[in-house]
């Protein structure tokens, strides 16, 4: 047993490949035999991943889910920002340029709406729950855009660390909801062609939510959504501490 653990610990990335392979295999079989293909195998795999992340977080008290357990450290490398972005860029190879160009403008519009709508919702909820000052409202609102925009904005306008934690939690919940609910809501949202995927990428925000949500819905739509979604965080970090903060300040004083 110790020998196995040693092997896993010495080869973290290889161990992660094997482990994720097992999760995928289980998920595909669950999808086929339990849901008769109605729920996509990748959707099940992502939910299993989130469940394991919760379990890992409880076990270690760390912030990186399963990756905080020593024998699963490779998960942190395999699913970290570097590999995630590398794989996302690779999917661009499948983009049909004409389709992407056709939806360019609507993608930009979705991106703007995708920043403003979550911000307004977040700030309004914050206000109605007793966070009445502009800094708190802006920080929580920015967190509802993405969990990176939240702390970046909060740091820029001088929010307390409690507020930042709250704003990160808001963004995390949003990302997880997008991951889990996208396949179920795909029909309602009309998510079945490149244009709709680009609209989705702009409005749903967070690369992690969009990429996982689309992966669980239709793998072929991933590059179109990701192409737009990757601008989400940048735009949010640009608008959060500036336009959105000033607008909030003007409203609540």
């Amino acid at each position: 047993m110790e020998m196995i653990e040693h092997a896993l610990r010495e080869n973290p990335l290889v161990a992660a490949f094997a482990f994720v392979g097992i999760i995928m295999w289980i998920s595909v079989h669950l999808s086929r035999h339990l849901t008769f293909g109605r729920v996509h195998g990748s959707a099940i795999a992502i939910v299993i991943g989130l469940g394991l992340a919760y379990w890992g977080g409880i076990q270690t008290g760390g912030a990186k889910g399963l990756a905080d357990l020593k024998i699963f450290a490779g998960i942190g490398l395999m699913g970290g920002a570097m590999m995630r972005d590398f794989a996302i860029v690779a999917t661009a190879f499948e983009v049909h340029v004409d389709e992407a160009k056709k939806a360019g403008m609507v993608g930009v519009m979705a991106l703007l709406l995708g920043t403003i709508i979550p911000f307004v919702v977040g700030a309004s909820v914050a206000w109605s729950m007793g966070y009445r000052d502009a800094v708190a409202m802006t920080t929580i609102g920015a967190g509802a855009v993405t969990y990176i925009v939240g702390p970046v904005t909060g740091a820029a306008i001088g929010a307390s660390s409690d507020l930042m934690a709250l704003s990160i939690a808001t963004g995390l919940i949003k990302a997880i909801m997008v991951m889990v609910f996208t396949p179920a809501l795909a029909g309602f949202m009309g998510l079945n062609n490149p244009r709709s995927a680009m609209v989705f990428g702009g409005l749903a925000g967070t690369v992690s939510g969009v990429s996982a949500g689309l992966a669980a819905t239709d793998r072929r739509l991933v590059p179109y959504g990701a192409l737009v979604a990757t601008f989400h965080t940048g735009l949010g970090c640009l608008m959060g501490p500036s336009v959105l903060f000033l607008a909030t300040k003007a409203l609540v004083g």
Partner: protein, 133 residues
Amino acid sequence: MIIYGTAILAACHLLGVYIGDLLGSLIGVKANVGGVGIAMMLLIAVRVYLHKRGLMPDTTEAGVGFWAAMYIPVVVAMAAQQNVVAALKGGPVALISALGAVILCACVIALINRTGPKNQDSSWQVGTVADET
């Protein structure tokens, strides 16, 4: 050689992230502005350029295709290292804000996609990585 494809992919990735950082500091944002998106556009441009000149043999394409196919497993690994515990500890403010944002955005997505032009042409489905199941 297969490494050529992976190397092209890596070069586009790094250049895109670099431009994204540059763009961020240019407009005074402490974040990378669309680096991955820029990298994707670079890769698309390189692919179109090399294809036209016939400099893209199948093995080179396989060097990119492998990573594109690894995308879903990578996303599963990403899900497994989310800070789910912290997310659940956020309390009602975080939960209601996130839920409200997701619901409203889903409705706006539905609205835009239903009013948009009906996309009858399905050419985009050809030549992509199909479901591997």
